[in-house]
């Protein structure tokens, strides 16, 4: 049974007057990565729900920012907020994501967010 069923105000109690994800500040532990780190996106099991786009799996990008701490989408989507983790903004070269990307645009990038579990040092 979801937590909301027995205490459906648990998130409101935590976030009211503070905001979300600010209410999870300090709960993600020490960040594993920092701006400038090169990371590879892990290709892990993703049953039922994830925000980690499949097209990024195995690709290498650069961390631009440790953005905030929050429960990972996999947990939060079932109302579980027990284990917040760091989220990172990661920038990829388009050429590294799409094999057929036109060579005429070598500087094109795409930047997107990942929770820490999806990243490993490259």
């Amino acid at each position: 049974m979801s937590k909301a069923h027995h205490d459906r105000t648990h998130h409101a109690k935590k976030a009211t007057g503070i905001g979300d994800p600010q209410c999870f500040k300090g709960e993600g532990g020490k960040p594993k990565f920092k701006a400038g780190d090169t990371v590879r996106i892990r290709d892990m099991a993703d049953f039922f729900y994830t925000r980690c786009q499949t097209y990024t799996r195995g690709a290498v990008g650069t961390v631009t920012l440790a953005v905030y701490e929050s429960p990972a989408a996999e947990d939060e989507a079932w109302d579980n907020t027990d284990k917040p983790e760091w989220f990172y903004s990661v920038k990829f070269r388009q050429k590294d994501l799409w094999p057929d990307y036109p060579s005429a645009f070598p500087n094109d990038t795409v930047e997107t967010e990942f929770s820490e579990r999806w990243l490993e040092k490259a």
Binding site: R8, H11, A73, A77, D79, W98
Partner: protein, 148 residues
């Protein structure tokens, strides 16, 4: 057995067949040894993770927000304020749990509205029987309304 309801049911079955996602291999009711790891991954792909899928461009038109869309948004926000769901649970339900046919086939706020009804049933704020009875009541009122 001919009746307006029976012909509507037959038209419904035809249309559902045409709305199935195109998977250009025989794909109905496979035996277990016909599903390898690659097929399994493809079948479990969440419908909202569309990046990299081959597709054609879609028609885009500017449009005003309709009243029912604003009402739907407000209803869903109220459900969040009352702790019935978080934004992420709402997204999981309306972008992923709905499945590919509904994800691609329903208007954007149609998915919001359907999902709002679904969570009320899933978390037992209303029973499915109550929802269906309400729907029948509203349909009757609609059919009898002179403005139709």
């Amino acid at each position: 057995m001919k009746s307006p309801t029976r012909s509507e049911v037959m038209r419904h079955l035809d249309l559902v067949g045409q709305l199935q996602p195109a998977y250009h291999q025989p794909a109905q009711a496979p035996y277990p040894d016909e599903i390898d790891h690659e097929h399994f991954r493809a079948l479990l792909r969440s419908p909202h993770d569309i990046g990299g899928e081959a597709d054609i461009s879609i028609r885009w038109e500017e449009k005003q927000e309709e009243q029912w869309e604003a009402n739907t948004f407000a209803t869903c926000e109220c459900l969040a304020w009352r702790g019935v769901w978080s934004a992420e649970e709402r997204r999981r339900r309306q972008n992923s749990d709905v499945g590919q046919t509904q994800y691609l086939g329903l208007p954007y706020y149609g998915r919001w509205l359907l999902t709002a009804a679904r969570i009320m049933v899933d978390k037992q704020y209303v029973t499915l029987t109550e929802l269906n009875n309400k729907f029948e009541e509203v349909r009757k009122r609609y059919e009898q309304s002179p403005s139709r």
